[in-house]
Homo-oligomer: 212 residues x 2
C-alpha cells in the first residue's frame, strides 16, 4: 500500500473515532456513561460494530475515551475563550461567565456532561471515577489559579484562599446547571452570575468593571 | 378471617413495603433509580418477587415510591432536628448544618440520595423527574422560608431575596457532597459551612452566635 493510501486510512480512522466519541459524550450527558453501548453507537453513526470495537475494545475503554473527549470539548468551549480576557480578575470572571454560557446553551444536549457523569460515578470506585475526579480537580485548580493570579496582582484580598473561592464559584455554577435541567428553570444562571460577582466584591481591593 | 388476623397481615405488608423502600433508596443512592429491580430487591430482602410486585406493580411506581420514602427519611434526618433550634437565624443555620451532617455521615450509603437521582433524571422528562424537581423546589422553599423568617425578625437585611440566598446555600452543600464522594475528600463540608456563615454575615444586621 502506498504511503498516501495508509495516510488516508489513518485519517478516516481518526475521523470515525472522533465522531464516535462526540456522539458518545452527547448520549452520556443525558443517559450517563452506562447508557453507552458499542452497538448503539455503531447504529447511530452507520458504522460497523467491529469498526467501533476496534477503536475501544471494551466498554470501560469507551467510557474513559469519552471522558477525555468531553474534557477536550469543555476546554475548547469554556477555558480557551476565557483566556482572551485580560489577565487577573477580568479573566477569572470571564472563566465562570464562559462556563455558565456553556451550560445555558447546552453544548452537550443533557446540560453539563460532567455534572451528569460525576453523579453517576460518585459512589462507584474504579478507573472511570478516578478519571472524573481528576477532571474535577483540574477544573477547581484552573479556577483557583486565576483567583491566585488576581490576588497576586493586588486585585483580591491577599488573605483569600484560592481553593476555597474556586470551590464556592464552582458550587454556584453546578447548582444553576442542575436547576435549569431538573426544574426547567434557567433563572439559576443569572442568580449564579450575580452571586459570583457579589462574592468576589467581598474580596476585591477596589471596584472593578468585571464585577459590576 | 378475624379482624386481628387481617390487622396482622396488613401490618406485615406495611413492614415489607417499608423494608423494600429503605433498601431501594440505599441502592439508588449508589447505582441510581435505574439500578433498581424488583428481582434484586426481592433477593436482597428474602421475600418473593410476587410480594414486592404486589406493592408497586411497575418499575416506575417503585421509583416514585422510593423517591417519596427517601424524601421522608431526608425530612426526618435533616429538617426535623433543625426545628429544635430557636426560630430565626439560629434555625436557618441549624438547617444547613443538619444537611451537611447528614451528607457527611452518609445516611444513604452513596451520599445524598437526591444528588445522585437529580443528576440521573435531570434530562429525562417524565413522572420521576417531575417528582424529583418537586422535592428540589420544596427543599429550596424550606430554606427560603427560614431566610424570610430571619429577615422578618430583623436579623437579616430587609432587602435580601430569600430564594436567592437559599439557592446559594444549597449550592455549597451540594458541592461538598459531590467533592466528598467523587474525590474522597471531606474538606468540602468545612468549606461549605464556613462559606455559608460568611455569606449570612454579609446579610446579618448584627453579630449572631450562630454565625461565629
Amino acid at each position: 500500500m502506498s504511503g498516501a493510501a495508509t495516510d488516508g486510512r489513518l485519517a478516516r480512522g481518526e475521523r470515525t473515532r472522533a465522531a464516535v466519541l462526540r456522539r458518545a459524550a452527547d448520549i452520556a450527558s443525558i443517559d450517563g456513561l452506562d447508557g453507552l453501548s458499542i452497538g448503539r453507537l455503531a447504529a447511530d453513526l452507520s458504522v460497523s460494530k467491529a469498526g467501533v470495537f476496534a477503536h475501544f475494545g471494551s466498554k470501560e475503554e469507551l467510557q474513559l475515551a469519552t471522558v477525555h473527549a468531553a474534557a477536550e470539548r469543555f476546554a475548547a468551549e469554556v477555558v480557551v475563550p476565557a483566556m482572551e480576557a485580560p489577565e487577573g480578575l477580568a479573566r477569572l470572571v470571564a472563566l465562570y461567565d464562559s462556563w455558565l454560557a456553556y451550560s445555558r446553551r447546552r453544548v452537550f444536549p443533557g446540560g453539563c456532561f460532567f455534572f451528569c457523569t460525576f453523579a453517576e460515578f460518585h459512589a462507584r470506585p474504579g478507573r472511570v471515577r478516578d478519571e472524573l475526579a481528576e477532571v474535577r480537580r483540574r477544573w477547581l485548580d484552573a479556577g483557583a489559579g486565576l483567583v491566585a493570579d488576581a490576588r497576586d496582582r493586588g486585585e483580591l484580598d491577599p488573605e483569600c484562599d484560592p481553593q476555597a473561592v474556586a470551590f464556592e464559584l464552582d458550587a454556584l455554577g453546578m447548582a444553576a446547571n442542575l436547576h435549569d435541567q431538573l426544574c426547567e428553570d434557567p433563572s439559576g444562571f443569572d442568580r449564579a452570575a450575580a452571586a459570583m460577582r457579589a462574592r468576589l466584591r467581598t474580596l476585591a481591593t477596589a471596584p472593578h468593571p468585571a464585577l459590576d
